[in-house]
């Protein structure tokens, strides 16, 4: 486990894709079966641990440390598993650290009541990195920035001539600890038989486009379509060896999200692979992301939910048709095939992404500013911007240069006052990085700030340090992980908040909800009383509604 923990630790800091692959391949090469197979299962999310509740872990540490010192440490570190891993009194080391396979088996075999004792024994026997990895794994909160796809790529790197797609194709038929897969990769065994009729193919991504960027490009070489504000997905379907139809819905990063959208998956009766946007449509009208968000927020997918929030795919591209790989074809060819495919299938859950015609870049800029009159009509509120693609672009994995661009709306901005701050997650867990901000309004008691949203990105790492320091120095109240920050007429911090959309909301006290709010600038120069008022946000909503 310590060796695996060391790998997780290195992966969690390593930003480079190739270096991550090398670290993992190095681990797989040096680690024997079945240990490496359990590790691969953990890396690909194929392990479901009996999840230990944070309360249990808190209980274990409370028995071993001074509660005040624990509270101060937790406040500093900001992450429970890490705090416990670091504070755990590790004086009594066992002679050997438990291997991952022992932990996996132990977790399955241990009754809930015995789990704390068992866990404590493992924690005693591990070093702090081992403790961290174990606690992260069993609380189901391990985020190391390596996708399942990357782990499979590292497995493929073990062999001389294997490609990641080879692993991907046999993957659905395999079970941990994958001894047959490693044997195949190392040339010691046959290819495991398990062709996936509905595999994931890594998607092609676009570069953001700045206004000035593309004025030098020839508009005739490009085609534009709306960038819909939903979830980019890949719908993959086909027949398995027994002739059964299999369909899956994949996220952009290769996660199987079929379980969340059974209504849609059921409708994927074709044989092929579509790249598209998952949207909620009601009576043929595209709903905004807020509506999709409401469906995503529900844990249980009930018939009532799927009826109320019917999921659809708006197709951007066709990657496979039958067994035929279309990805090498130019976009214009694939588009013709896609149009014919969608027309033939006549699937009520799948429609075609509309092409936005334009003569020159100014014309396209006008369409971007006013999607409603450029063809998006009543659906304009769900348009996030434009996708601009070269006619001749093949479907290339990753983010190739010069082929696809995304051209988003200009954001709106508001000056708001920082009111509350909360610790962030991941690499920000020891910083106050989630900010609730408010604008001025007036009620019976006079002028006051009302919270209108939360922002947790948009600032640089340096700015985060300054914001964190400001929060710590200006805390006037603490509620668990939340700090209330001084916010008076003269004392407080003004944040310029940029956002993509704004709507009325009954759920928010202020009555407004912003989309993608983020800190555009920190207005150290501005006193809080000069921040914006709620009325100006309401005016923005009215303008949007009347537009």
């Amino acid at each position: 486990m310590n060796r695996f923990a060391f790998l997780l630790d290195r992966l969690s800091y390593e930003p480079r894709r190739n270096a991550k692959i090398r670290l993992m391949a190095d681990y797989f090469r040096e680690t024997p079966d079945p240990e490496r197979g359990w590790a691969l299962a953990a890396l690909t999310g194929a392990l479901s641990f009996r999840h230990a509740k944070p309360g249990m872990i808190r209980g274990l540490i409370m028995e071993r440390t001074d509660p005040e010192l624990f509270a101060m440490s937790y406040d500093y570190v900001g992450d429970l598993a890490e705090t416990v891993a670091l504070m755990w009194p590790g004086e009594t080391r066992a002679n050997r650290a438990p291997p991952l396979s022992e932990i996996v088996e132990g977790l399955h075999a241990t009754a809930k009541l015995d789990l704390p004792k068992r866990l404590a024994a493992w924690l005693d026997a591990l070093d702090e990195t081992g403790r961290w990895a174990l606690l992260k794994l069993i609380t189901g909160s391990l985020r190391i920035g390596a996708s399942a796809r990357l782990a499979k790529t590292a497995v493929a790197a073990l062999g001389e001539s294997h490609k990641p797609d080879d692993v991907e194709l046999v993957w659905p038929g395999l079970v941990p600890p994958y001894e047959d897969l490693f044997a195949w990769m190392e040339g010691r065994g046959e290819r495991p038989f398990a062709d996936d009729p509905a595999p994931f193919r890594p998607p092609m991504l676009a570069h953001p486009l700045e206004d000035a960027d593309f004025r030098s490009f020839d508009p005739q070489a490009f085609v534009a379509e709306w960038k819909w504000d939903g979830i980019r997905v890949q719908a993959s379907a086909g027949k398995d060896a027994d002739g059964r139809h299999v369909a899956r819905l994949w996220s952009r990063s290769g996660e199987d999200v079929s379980g969340a959208f059974p209504d849609l998956v059921e409708a994927l009766t074709f044989d092929g692979a579509i790249d598209g946007e998952l949207l909620i449509l009601r009576d043929g009208r595209v709903q905004t992301f807020n509506v999709l968000q409401q469906r995503l927020n529900r844990k249980a997918v009930t018939p009532k939910l799927t009826a109320e929030f019917p999921a659809h795919i708006r197709a951007y591209d066709l990657l496979f048709e039958g067994g035929e790989d279309l990805r090498e074809l130019p976009f214009s060819e694939r588009r013709k095939r896609l149009e014919a495919f969608v027309a033939r299938e006549a699937n009520p859950r799948v429609d075609l992404s509309q092409i936005v015609s334009f003569e020159d870049w100014d014309g396209l800029a006008a369409a971007r500013l006013d999607p409603a009159s450029a063809g998006a009509g009543e659906d304009a509120a769900a348009v996030e911007g434009l996708m601009v693609k070269r006619h001749d672009s093949p479907y290339v994995v990753g983010r190739p240069k010069g082929l696809w661009f995304k051209w988003k709306h200009d954001p709106m901005t508001v000056d708001a006052v920082l009111m509350y701050a909360q610790r962030g997650h991941g690499k920000r867990s020891s910083f106050y990085s989630d900010y609730t901000f408010g604008v001025w309004t007036e009620d019976d008691e006079g002028e006051k700030l009302t919270p209108v949203g939360k922002a947790y990105f948009g600032f640089t790492d340096e700015e985060l340090v300054e914001l964190d320091r400001f929060v710590r120095k200006n805390t006037i109240n603490r509620f668990g992980p939340v700090r209330e920050v001084a916010h008076e007429r003269e004392i407080g911090l003004v944040l310029e908040i940029a956002f993509e959309g704004i709507a009325r909301s009954a759920r928010h006290k202020s009555g407004v909800a912003m989309r993608f709010p983020r800190v555009a600038r920190i207005r150290w120069d501005k006193p809080p009383h000069e921040a914006d008022r709620l009325e100006s946000l309401e005016r923005l909503i009215e303008e949007r509604e009347n537009a």
Binding site: R10, S12, Y13, E14, P15, R16, A19, R22, L23, D26, T65, D66, E68, L69, F70, M72, S73, Y76, V77, G78, D79, E82, T83, L86, M87, E128, W132, G426, K427, R428, S429, S430, F431, D461, L464, V465, R469
Partner: protein, 362 residues
């Protein structure tokens, strides 16, 4: 749990001395009224006792400075020979009488020349630790326990989450990475006074025989170490145009340089940082570090507590860092303790890592 420390009788103590009569915190730093001297003053004063050469403790412009010979040499190298008007050398263990106050300097184990300052007046003994550590460091004299009545400690890493592992293991991590990525340059961000030289020495002891490459800001202080008799093997200043050829090399630089354009000219650089802060993942990731090494010049939680008990002091003052937790622990251990909340020392402990003059020298 306190070890038995025999407490000497205090025959000349005819009235009850208050620790504040000997030392009091002021905006300029800790002041000793009977000696008319400041310890590690934040602003220029007439008489300064300086614990060690780090920029937040040793500042130029004082009239008279008393410090160890090594610290005086380091200050002269950093600030120029005219960093003060008169210098008074205080080798470890030598006692000097200043207006009736017995002043002596004792090894703090922090960096070369770093000292705890012991003041004795009317039978009352105070020790100002400065920054200190007790972990192994081949480039600094070993920390010495100095029994006292009042112990003034730092608390940079004064939380139970801070436990520094043996530095040798962290060095092994660096060398493993060099093995796995032999074509990449490993840039190690480390504070240029003390930390960098300790790493160099530990690398040598781990068998690294190739030259160690140095960012310009590291060169002068490294030469001072070498002149004071610390053998660090072959060290080479990085020439800008040579950077692209340094695949496989270990390069030491100030932590701030890791994120500058300077760092990007190396072959696929690995950003390494050696600091006690690297123990907390969020701190390491926030600094964009890819290989964090937990190597610190400061005491960890266990060392702080052990040292407080070892001194036998009845009263503890905490100067800077995570003072609340340490003061709380003192309370639960039956010791009288107070936080001084001195500002200016290692702003939250991190100024030590990015001193001003490094930016200027870079």
């Amino acid at each position: 749990m306190r070890p038995p420390v025999s407490r000497p009788a205090k025959p000349h103590l005819s009235f009850r001395m208050r620790p504040e009569d000997l030392l009091c915190p002021t905006p300029r730093g800790l002041f000793c009224p009977p000696a008319d001297a400041y310890i590690d003053p934040m602003r220029p004063v007439e008489r300064a006792f300086v614990t060690h050469g780090h920029a937040d403790h040793a500042r130029p412009g004082n009239d008279a400075v008393m410090a160890t010979p090594e610290t005086l040499a380091i200050m002269a190298a950093r600030y120029g020979e005219d960093f003060c008007r008169t210098r008074q050398s205080a080798p470890y263990g030598k006692t000097t009488d200043v207006n009736g106050v017995k002043v002596s300097f004792h090894p703090a184990g922090h960096v070369l020349g770093a000292a705890q300052i012991r003041l004795e007046w009317k039978g009352f003994r105070a020790v100002i630790s400065g920054d200190y550590k007790r972990a192994y460091d081949p480039t600094a004299a070993d920390f010495e326990v100095v029994p006292c009545d009042l112990f003034i400690t730092e608390a940079t890493f004064g939380l139970p989450v801070f436990r520094h592992p043996p530095a040798e293991g962290e060095i092994a991590k660096l060398l493993d990475s060099v093995d796995l990525f032999p074509e990449r340059a490993h840039l190690v961000g480390a504070y240029s006074l003390g930390k960098a030289q300790r790493l160099m020495k530990l690398l040598r002891m781990a068998g690294w025989e190739k030259p160690i490459h140095l960012h310009g800001a590291m060169v002068r202080v490294t030469e001072t170490y070498q002149a004071l008799g610390i053998d660090l093997g072959e060290t080479v200043r990085v020439e800008p145009k040579e950077r692209a050829k340094l695949g496989g090399a270990i390069v030491l630089c100030p932590p701030s340089a890791l994120r500058e354009l300077w760092a990007r000219k190396f072959p696929d650089p690995v950003a390494v940082a050696a600091s006690g802060w690297m123990r907390v993942r969020a701190r390491a990731r926030q600094k964009g570090v890819e290989l964090p090494l937990v190597v610190s010049d400061h005491s960890d939680w266990d060392e702080l507590r052990r040292t407080i008990l070892d001194t036998g002091a009845e009263e503890i003052w905490v100067t800077h860092g995570e003072e609340d937790a340490l003061v709380h622990w003192c309370g639960t251990s039956g010791l009288k303790a107070r936080p001084l909340r001195l500002v200016g020392y290692g702003d939250e402990g991190e100024a030590d890592e990015t001193p001003l003059e490094e930016a200027a020298e870079a």
